[in-house]
C-alpha cells in the first residue's frame, strides 16, 4: 500500500515536518525532526529510483483525480535520478547542520532555520516530482522563498542584502516562468506536462508558443544562474550559512536545470514550431561565455567561498553546454555533470564550513598554512578541487569525458578545446588554495591547529568519498544519465 503512495510521501514528509518543527520550537528537537524527515525522504527517493528503473515511469494522481484534469506526479528516469541527488544531499547536509548552523545562526532562530530547510527540501523535491506545470511554479516558489529566508538567517549583515537581491531576481524569474506557463495553457488548454507535449504539435498558431518558450527559458535561466543572469549567486552563496550554501550549490541550480531539460526536450522537443528558433545556438554561446568568464573571475576572488560560487556559475555553464549540444553524448555529459558537480561542490562547501567554523570566515588569508592546521579538511578540499578540474579518478573527469566526446561527435573542435581549455582555468583557481594551504606559513588570521568537529567532517568526507567513488565506478551516475538522456532524446 505504501509503495503506491511514495511519490506523494516524498514531498509530504518534509512538508509536514516544517509545521511540526515550528510547534516544537526547541532547537535540538527541531534538528532531530529535520534529520528524520530528510533521511526518510532520501529512503523514499531511492525506493522510487528502483521503482522507476523497473517500471519506466511512475505516475501518481494527486487526490485521485485522473491526470489530464488533476495534478499528476510523474517521475521518469531523469526525475528519479535528480531526486536521488537532491534527497541525498538533503540527507547528508542534515547531520552536518546541527553544529554548523548552531555556530552561524542566532540561537532563538534555529528552529525556524530547520523549518525553512524542510520547506526548501520539500519544494525542490516537489519541482522534480510534479508533472503539472503550474504545480511546478508553486513548488518553485516554496523552494525559493525558503531559500531567501535561509540565506537571510546568516550572521553577517551582508546576507540580508544578498537575500533581498536574490528575492528580486528569483521572483522575476519565477514570474517569467508563470507567464510562459500561462501562454502555454492558453494555447494548449492543459497544464499537465505530458498532455501539453502531446497537444503542442497540433497547435497551428506558433507565435505565442515561441513567446512562451522564451519566457520559460529566461525565467528558468534566471533560477539556474546561467551566465548573464547569475548576479545573485555569488553574494547569496558567500553570505549564507555554510550548510545552506552547500545544500543550495548541490541542489537548487540542478533542479532548475532539470526543469530546463524537461521543457526543452519533453515539451518543446516534440513540436516542429521550435525548429527554426535558435535556442540551441543561443544556449551554446551563453554557456561558452559563462564557462570562460566565470572561471576567470573566480581566479581573482579574495574569498574562497565566493571563488567557489563563481566556479559554480562556470560549472553550470558546462551543464548547459551539454544540453545545447543535443546529441546523446553531450546530453549524457550534461546530466552526469549535474550529479557530479552537485556532490563535488557540496563536499567543497561543507569542508569550507568547517574552516569558517574554526577561523570565522573562509577568505584566503585564513587559509594560509591550513594544510598543517586542519590536515583532513584541506586534503578533502584538494580532492574536491581535483574533481572540479576533472582529473581522472574523480567524478568531474567522467562528465568532462562525455562533454568532450559530445563536442567531437558534433565535429566542433573549438568546443572540445573550450571544455578542456577551461579546466586549465579551474587548475589555476584550485591551485590558489593548494599553494595557500600547503606552501605558505600560517598567517595571523589562520585558525589554531585543530580539526573541524567530527559532525562536520564525516558528512563532508562522505561526499568526498562519493566524488572518488563515482569517478571510478560509474554504473549509477552514467547509467542513470544515459537512460535519462535516451529518454529525452527519444521524445524528440
Amino acid at each position: 500500500m505504501i509503495r503506491a503512495q511514495l511519490p506523494a510521501l516524498l514531498v509530504v514528509v518534509p512538508l509536514l515536518a516544517a509545521p511540526v518543527i515550528v510547534l516544537a520550537r526547541r532547537a535540538a528537537l527541531a534538528w532531530a525532526l529535520a534529520l528524520a524527515a530528510s533521511w526518510s525522504s532520501f529512503a523514499i527517493a531511492i525506493a522510487l529510483f528502483l521503482q522507476v528503473r523497473a517500471a519506466g515511469v511512475v505516475s501518481y494522481a494527486m487526490g485521485s483525480w485522473p491526470p489530464p484534469w488533476g495534478i499528476e506526479y510523474r517521475i521518469d528516469a531523469l526525475g528519479a535520478f535528480v531526486l536521488v541527488l537532491v534527497a541525498g544531499m538533503g540527507a547528508v547536509v542534515a547531520p552536518y547542520m546541527r553544529r554548523s548552523a548552531a555556530a552561524e545562526v542566532p540561537g532563538e532562530r534555529l528552529y525556524l532555520f530547520y523549518a525553512m530547510y524542510m520547506l526548501c527540501l520539500a519544494g525542490l523535491l516537489g519541482i522534480v516530482a510534479t508533472g503539472d506545470a503550474f504545480n511546478l511554479f508553486v513548488f518553485l516558489e516554496i523552494a525559493s522563498l525558503s531559500t531567501y529566508v535561509l540565506i537571510a538567517l546568516g550572521r553577517d549583515r551582508r546576507s540580508l542584502l544578498a537575500a533581498f537581491q536574490y528575492l528580486i531576481m528569483g521572483t522575476i524569474g519565477a514570474t517569467f516562468y508563470v507567464i510562459g506557463v500561462g501562454l502555454l495553457y492558453l494555447m494548449t488548454g492543459t497544464l499537465n506536462i505530458a498532455d501539453m507535449a502531446a497537444r503542442l504539435p497540433a497547435v497551428t498558431e506558433t507565435r505565442p508558443l515561441v513567446a512562451a518558450a522564451a519566457f520559460v527559458t529566461v525565467g528558468i535561466s534566471l533560477k539556474l544562474a546561467l551566465f548573464p543572469l547569475h548576479f545573485w549567486l555569488p553574494n547569496a552563496y558567500t553570505y549564507a550559512p555554510s550548510a545552506v550554501t552547500a545544500f543550495l550549490a548541490a541542489t537548487a541550480t540542478k533542479v532548475s536545470v532539470y526543469v530546463l531539460l524537461r521543457y526543452f526536450f519533453t515539451i518543446f522537443g516534440a513540436s516542429p514550431a521550435f525548429a527554426e528558433v535558435p535556442f540551441q545556438e543561443a544556449l551554446l554561446a551563453l554557456s561558452a561565455i559563462a564557462i570562460v568568464t566565470a572561471s576567470l573571475v573566480a581566479v581573482y576572488q579574495p574569498d574562497m567561498k565566493r571563488m567557489l560560487a563563481y566556479s559554480s556559475v562556470a560549472q553550470i555553464g558546462y551543464i548547459t553546454l551539454g544540453i545545447a549540444m543535443a546529441n546523446r553524448a553531450g546530453l549524457t555529459g550534461a546530466i552526469v555533470h549535474l550529479f557530479n558537480h552537485g556532490i563535488t561542490k557540496g563536499a567543497l562547501f561543507l569542508l569550507l564550513g568547517g574552516v569558517a567554523m574554526r577561523a570565522g570566515r573562509a577568505s584566503f588569508d585564513c587559509l594560509a598554512g591550513l594544510g598543517r592546521a586542519m590536515p583532513l579538511t584541506s586534503f578533502g578540499i584538494v580532492i574536491g578541487g581535483l574533481s572540479l578540474i576533472g582529473i581522472p579518478g574523480t567524478a568531474g573527469f567522467v562528465s568532462k569525458w562525455y562533454l568532450v566526446l559530445g563536442a567531437i561527435e558534433r565535429g566542433e573542435w573549438w568546443l572540445a578545446v573550450l571544455v578542456v581549455g577551461s579546466s586549465l582555468i579551474a587548475v589555476a583557481y584550485v591551485w590558489r588554495f593548494v599553494e595557500a594551504a600547503y606552501l605558505q606559513p600560517p598567517g595571523p588570521a589562520s585558525p589554531r591547529p585543530g580539526e573541524a568537529p567530527l559532525a562536520l567532517l564525516v558528512p563532508a568526507w562522505l561526499l568526498v568519498g562519493a566524488c572518488v567513488w563515482f569517478g571510478l565506478s560509474t554504473s549509477f551516475n552514467v547509467g542513470g544519465a544515459a537512460t535519462a538522456g535516451q529518454l529525452l532524446l527519444g521524445a524528440r
Binding site: 553577517d156 549583515r157 540580508l160 521572483t171
Partner: protein
C-alpha cells in the same frame, strides 16, 4: 494591427503595460521598498494575463445552476488565487528583509548600502 484587433486585445495591452512598468520600476529605482512595489506590479500583470482570456463574454460565474449553460473558465481563477498568495508571501518576506536592512544599515537606498559595505566596519 487593425482597430478591432487593438480593441479586442485590450486586456493584453494592459497586461504588457503593467509588466513593463513593473520591471522598469524594479530596475530603475534604488529604494528597496520601491523595488518591491515594482515587483508587485509586475506580478499583478500576470494575474490579468490569466484572468482576461478566462472570461467568456456572456459566461456566468463557474458555479452550476439551472438555466445557465455558458460558464467562464474557473481554472485561471484558482491558479491566480495561488499566485496572489505567492505574491503576498514574497512581498511580506521582502518587507521583512527591508526592515532588517534598515536596522542593520540605517538606510534602504541600495547604493548607500553598498557604500556602507565597502568601508571596513568590521561587521563580521
Amino acid at each position: 494591427m487593425s482597430a478591432g484587433a487593438v480593441g479586442g486585445h485590450y486586456a493584453y495591452w494592459v497586461t504588457v503595460f503593467l509588466m513593463v512598468a513593473g520591471l522598469y520600476i524594479v530596475v530603475a529605482r534604488g529604494n528597496l521598498v520601491k523595488k518591491l512595489i515594482g515587483l508587485s506590479i509586475f506580478q499583478t500583470s500576470v494575474y490579468l494575463l490569466y484572468i482576461g482570456p478566462g472570461k467568456l463574454i456572456g459566461g456566468t460565474a463557474p458555479i452550476v445552476a439551472e438555466g445557465f449553460r455558458v460558464y467562464s473558465n474557473p481554472l485561471p481563477h484558482v491558479l491566480i488565487l495561488t499566485a496572489i498568495v505567492v505574491g503576498v508571501a514574497t512581498l511580506a518576506l521582502g518587507l521583512a528583509l527591508v526592515v532588517r536592512i534598515r536596522e542593520a544599515y540605517g538606510t534602504i537606498e541600495e547604493d548607500e548600502i553598498l557604500d556602507r559595505d565597502r568601508e571596513p566596519r568590521g561587521g563580521e
